[in-house]
Subunit: 151 residues, 2 copies
Amino acid sequence: MKREDAHEEFRRFLKRGDNRITPERFEVLDHAIDYEGHFGADELYISMKTSHSNISRATVYNTIELLAQCGILLKRNFGENKTRYESNINKTSHDHLICTNCGAIIEFSEPKIQKIVKTISEEIGFDASGYSFNIFGKCTNANCQQNKNAK
Amino acid sequence: MKREDAHEEFRRFLKRGDNRITPERFEVLDHAIDYEGHFGADELYISMKTSHSNISRATVYNTIELLAQCGILLKRNFGENKTRYESNINKTSHDHLICTNCGAIIEFSEPKIQKIVKTISEEIGFDASGYSFNIFGKCTNANCQQNKNAK
DNA sequence: ATTATTGCAAACGCTTTGCACTCCC
DNA sequence: GGGAGTGCAAAGCGTTTGCAATAAT
């Protein structure tokens, strides 16, 4: 998917929800899809300020939430008491291994997980809209495998 | 498992790690295992203050972390940017469905998840110590199923 | 006696809020 | 023109930290 497709998708999403089309919202969209890896809302805000934008913190936080609702961003939580986001553009569904020693984040795909979500939800009569699956431990890095102090 | 067994387990854990045996630590242990459901560290602190303890916030936070390392408490994260805990005493392994409308938390057990954690970790050479699995959506409550505004 | 642990209060990081100004519809 | 959206600064919330006093070893 190209940048202009993302713009078009966001535009449609905004209209559908009676939200206004503003230049600030597309500025946030552009920075978010260009951002490598997983980022916090404040991180994106700082990054935009650094590149001389005069966007406000409130607008970044608001817009990121809209982008997540729209499906352009994915909301993540790696157990750090802050919300992380990642672009969902040109990405296949995946989950994460998180190294508790060095903080590395490794992605993996396992289709069985989706099936489990579906089965459990149906069993219980729960209307699932999403899930979160993280594996914590020590990554393949030799330093991390050795480190006995880490959790 | 009885209260005195938990005390004994915690005592052994503390000695093993060269941590001191203090009355404050066992006071926190007692309140934590008595607490119904999932609680935040500050919540436990406030609850202890309310019942006229003169424990400090720092001690509660420190001790809860020790209890989690010891395995007496389980660390959870329900996507709220705060850490939750629950007693692991007399509990079987389980994960959670979280209602994004009313906040209800429903527990479920699915042994396949453990297998997936094992398989993925071995495949990648990751030394897994734990995982977190949450399903988000709307619970069976009629109000929640109707509510179109909720995520 | 030594030093980990405690209580207190202040600082921290991320997020949300209140407000007056702006500009999309 | 009306009201949603914006920028700014301050407040909120959960958590961590620095420090002097205390108590476990």
